[in-house]
């Protein structure tokens, strides 16, 4: 019945449009309040009708692994091959950085060569910094690495670094190749575009469980997951960078008789080099973002330390490992950004050594440090005696806070829980799934048309039909409330800083930093203060997701055509009127995009907040991970992806409408 009135023509705007919304809402309310008596199945999806998707997927995965055959080789052989391709370089890098080269197996193994001395690693980082920018950057990265060593995180950090050093080149290479393929063939591009779009909205953990299932628990699976997560931006950047190469350069390449391969590798890629480096930086940052999630499927290293600490609720240890990831992230981010900005690359002339002074000094450092390390152990391994630990201190701080402020914190938490979180959750869970789906269809129809209506309708129905409705609603509740709070905090900050260039510079630095930090860092302080539960999860999500809310609001407001503001002033608008009547309206499309991003950020935090005992789809994925139940994990992961896609498509279409209405065609992203 709700569906009936959604058949209204799309063109109906203005009063007719609001009428449709009004009628839709009234019907929805009536149905919600009165319908449960006649249509109980519309409120609770009947168990008997559930599509056993989890089972099917589980069986399918089994079939894939045990029987699937691509003519020349089986699927299992394919995964084994991929695993070998990843495992080999990983072993080498890990030996170099962490374990040393061993002969023999297991506990009887003997070290024939120690790993690179910690001093040498620090020195190489410093050299890279110096090469990329100069003394300042060399100091910064040295500081970061020494920080890691001083706080006793060195060995874990090297394990993490090893997996990043393997994942990044693979991600960059695959992304580059896909981007080139898409550039060369319109057909590939058309195929790839929607997949890339989808990858951006699907939260990581939708594919964690299948990967775990295919590759088994361990660093290989972690690298695969990291690559899949970090590669799409590289593909996008590559495609864009190649398309932006001036057509004359391309013509030049063809005119001097380049073959296809020469045109790609000798002309296009080198010309696009600077833009491509931006993609490399993205891959590095996303790989670091994955560190903790990857440790859920066996990455080890710092991510594992954080995860283990969180499970034990050992804040101090978690915080230190977390900060070490941040230090690593800052060092790698700064380095790669500096390489992006690096000016003219003069190739010095002369003999091989004089052309490669940096490589040579790096090798010399490794050698000298290695030799010296065999005499003075402190050079080889950072001595335990010199390590600092703040773990105790933080645990004391938490204890102290809990002793002194327990009641106050508890009161705040309970206030929010009782007055906001719980009622909202009850409200959402009480809604009839059929009504919600119908409402989504109506919304899809109104903002875009029948195709979007069909898409959101199908996705919504699938969530219900796979028996995920209640968990999905808890997800929507947690993300929804976090998003609302993030917007309530972020939009005013955005408004305030948009007008004040100096404030904006500061805000920008802060939100840039917030976005470089791995997402789980936000969880730590929240857990310290409020212990586990929905409220803690909410705080962490808000802290992570507030950055885009601020950014897009400020950018939107700053992008408003100054001529229109002038016109407003000339008409005698007060500053307040200028803000509300002109600027905010014109910035609406961008603010909507900010909302979209905020939701995406919030959804991507879910599997992390599962660590503090939420009951949503993130938890479902987390449980599936621990049980390696790929069907269950994939179904829950896909349900999150569906929620993301529904929100994304509806808001994007809404923003597009707003833009059309305002006559703005372009929007920065």
């Amino acid at each position: 019945m709700v569906a009936a009135n959604s058949k209204s023509p799309i063109s109906a705007k203005g009063p007719a449009g609001s009428l449709i919304w009004g009628v839709g809402s009234v019907l929805f309310l009536a149905f919600w309040q009165l319908g449960s008596r006649w249509l109980p199945w519309a409120f609770e999806y009947p168990k008997g009708w559930t599509i056993p998707a989890a089972q099917w997927i589980g069986q399918f995965m089994k079939w894939l692994l045990n029987e699937a055959h691509f003519g020349l080789f089986t699927f299992a052989e394919l995964t084994r091959f991929i695993a070998a391709v990843i495992d080999f370089p990983y072993r080498i890098v890990l030996s170099l950085l962490s374990t040393g080269f061993l002969s023999g197996q297991g506990s009887s193994a003997e070290q024939i060569l120690p790993p690179v001395a910690w001093i040498a690693v620090v020195a190489i980082f410093a050299l890279l910094g110096y090469l990329a920018e100069g003394r300042r950057l060399a100091l910064i990265v040295t500081g970061c690495m020494v920080f890691v060593a001083v706080f006793g995180q060195w060995s874990s950090a090297m394990v993490t670094l090893a997996s990043i050093l393997v994942a990044v080149p693979i991600g960059v290479a695959l992304g580059l190749l896909l981007g080139i393929a898409a550039y060369r063939s319109a057909w590939v591009e058309r195929l790839l575009q929607p997949i890339l779009d989808l990858m951006q909205t699907i939260p990581v953990f939708a594919y964690l469980v299948p990967i775990l299932f295919m590759f088994g628990f361990g660093p290989t699976a972690a690298v695969v997951a990291t690559v899949i997560y970090a590669m799409p931006p590289m593909t996008r950047v590559t495609l864009m960078a190649l398309q932006r190469v001036p057509s004359e350069i391309r013509d030049l390449g063809r005119m001097i008789g380049c073959t296809r391969a020469q045109l790609t590798w000798r002309v296009m890629v080198p010309t696009a080099q600077d833009a491509l480096m931006v993609g490399v930086n993205q891959v590095i940052m996303l790989s670091l973002n994955m560190v903790i999630i990857a440790s859920m499927i066996g990455a080890g290293g710092l991510g594992f330390d954080v995860l283990a600490a969180l499970r034990r609720l050992d804040f101090g240890a978690g915080l230190e490992a977390g900060l070490a990831i941040v230090a690593l992230a800052i060092a790698l981010d700064r380095l790669s950004q500096a390489f992006v900005r690096r000016p003219v690359r003069e190739t010095p002339q002369g003999s091989w050594p004089s052309r490669h002074p940096y490589l040579l000094s790096a090798l010399a450092t490794i050698l000298v440090a290695g030799l010296a390390g065999s005499i003075v152990p402190a050079i080889q391994t950072y001595p335990v005696g010199w390590q600092l630990s703040t773990g105790e201190f933080w645990s004391d701080v938490v204890k102290w806070i809990n002793v002194n402020y327990f009641d106050a914190l508890e009161a705040i938490k309970n206030f929010f829980l009782l007055n906001l979180l719980i009622p909202f959750k009850r409200f959402l869970i009480g809604l009839p799934w059929l009504g919600v789906v119908a409402f989504l269809v109506l919304a899809g129809w109104r903002v875009k048309g029948p195709r979007l209506a069909l898409l959101v309708g199908c996705l919504g129905f699938l969530i219900a039909a796979t028996g995920q409705w209640e968990k999905a609603m808890i997800t929507v509740y947690l993300c929804g409330i976090s998003t609302i709070i993030a917007m309530v905090i972020g939009v005013p900050i955005g408004i305030a800083s948009a007008e004040r260039p100096r404030l904006w510079r500061w805000v920008q630095v802060i939100i840039d930093t917030l976005q470089t930090l791995p997402s789980f860092v936000y969880l730590m302080p929240a857990v310290m203060l409020f212990r586990v539960g929905d409220f803690t999860a909410m705080i962490a999500v808000v802290a992570f997701a507030v950055a885009p809310a601020i950014r897009y609001t400020a950018l939107g407001l700053r992008g408003v055509d100054p001529a229109l503001v002038e016109a407003g002033k000339a008409m005698g608008c007060t500053p307040r009127q200028i803000l509300t009547r002109i600027k905010l309206r014109l910035a609406l499309p961008e603010i909507l995009l900010g909302l979209n991003q905020t939701i995406m950020f919030a959804l991507s935090m879910l599997v992390i907040t599962a660590l503090v005992g939420t009951r949503d789809l993130g938890q479902e994925v987390y449980i599936a991970l621990t049980k390696a139940d790929s069907g269950r994990g994939l179904v829950a992961g896909l349900a999150v992806a569906f929620i993301a896609i529904i929100a994304d498509r509806l808001i994007q279409a809404g923003a597009q409408n707003a833009r059309l209405r305002l006559g703005i065609s372009q929007v920065r992203t």
């Binding site: 004359e248 350069i249 013509d251 005119m255 001097i256 008789g257 380049c258 020469q262 003219v344």
Partner: protein, 338 residues
């Protein structure tokens, strides 16, 4: 019929942008009007162009922005696939050549200079100039030696190790010219090579270009939107409008007999004396003795000779044989006309 010496011949060449252009073109009968083309949802860039470029001449294609010059020259080099028509290079159909053959032809027989230089940012001057040779697989030392020669030819000795962004526009285009010459092309395309340069530099580069051509004697297709430049450099000019050639001929023919109002617009600003040759204004009577002028000289070049007080000059051909008389009054007429 193209003359036997025609290096490059272009017959009924069309280029329309848009999907299914070839089918739509033949559906419209092969020679549609502009309005028909846009009604079919296509963008017309080149329409029914016929031309022949002779061995050793500078053939200039002139037209305003968007008239289809770049597209035409890219059809001639087959960087853009023409929608219809035929292109003969050394008498051989270029459009029938395979990819491999095209690569060979471009590697050894064609060179192109671009409006915005198209230098590779990650290579030095010398490496840029050597790049076409590198692509062909020439050994490192050989190609660097050859590139060095080219760099000296265009007057850039001493800047071999500079990167493009460290050079001025004029210098960058010199690199572009050196690079296109490195493979000793038979056919040289220049697409508005000097348009991105300041007027003074442009002048200097034009002189340089004339000097180079006097040494090299290449067959040249030169694109410009500047009629003055066309007149200074061209042996023959073709004027394009909306993708079609509206008139072609020598500068003199065009200035004396503009085919349409559009062409007249350009010619009006040009002092005729600088274009018109003595042979076009002389009378056929073979006069007495007195000072003589070559028949190929322009009127502007001959005029100062009247300052000596003569009323008429003897006109002689290349062999020094008298062919006519140039009268003072005719010259004054022409000078006053423009």
């Amino acid at each position: 019929m193209p003359e036997p010496t025609a290096k490059l011949v272009c017959r009924n060449v069309w280029k329309l942008f848009g999907s299914g252009a070839a089918d739509k073109l033949s559906a419209m009968g092969g020679r549609p009007e502009l309005s028909e083309i846009s009604r079919a949802g296509l963008v017309s860039a080149v329409r029914d162009v016929n031309l022949d470029v002779r061995e050793g001449e500078i053939f200039v294609i002139m037209g305003l922005s968007g008239s289809g010059k770049s597209t035409l020259v890219r059809c001639l080099s087959r960087l853009v696939e023409p929608t219809a028509g035929e292109i003969l290079f050394n008498g051989r159909n270029l459009l029938a050549a395979s990819d491999q053959e095209m690569i060979e032809i471009r590697r050894h027989k064609m060179g192109m200079v671009f409006q915005h230089f198209a230098l590779l940012p990650h290579m030095t001057v010398l490496e840029n100039v050597a790049f076409p040779l590198e692509v062909q697989g020439m050994a490192r030392l050989d190609r660097l030696a050859r590139a060095q020669e080219m760099v000296s030819l265009v007057g850039l000795s001493g800047r071999e190790d500079a990167y493009p962004r460290q050079l001025s526009g004029g210098q960058q285009q010199r690199v572009g010219i050196a690079r296109s010459l490195a493979v000793e092309p038979e056919l040289w395309f220049l697409d508005e090579p000097f348009s991105a340069l300041d007027p003074l530099i442009r002048r200097e580069m034009q002189d340089e270009f004339v000097r180079l051509q006097s040494v090299l004697r290449k067959t040249i297709v030169f694109i410009t939107h500047d009629f003055d430049e066309a007149i200074r450099l061209a042996d023959r000019i073709a004027i394009m409008k909306d993708g079609a050639i509206v008139q072609s001929g020598t500068a003199e023919e065009i200035v004396l007999n503009p085919a349409t109002d559009y062409v007249r617009e350009f010619t009006q600003a040009v002092p005729k004396a600088k274009v018109v040759r003595v042979s076009s204004v002389m009378s056929k009577d073979v006069g007495l003795d007195g000072l003589s002028v070559p028949s190929r000289a322009t009127v502007a070049e001959a005029a100062p000779l009247f300052l000596e007080g003569a009323n008429s000059l003897r006109v002689v051909d290349e062999g020094g044989k008298p062919v006519g008389t140039l009268h003072r009054d005719d010259v004054i007429h022409l000078l006053l006309e423009s």
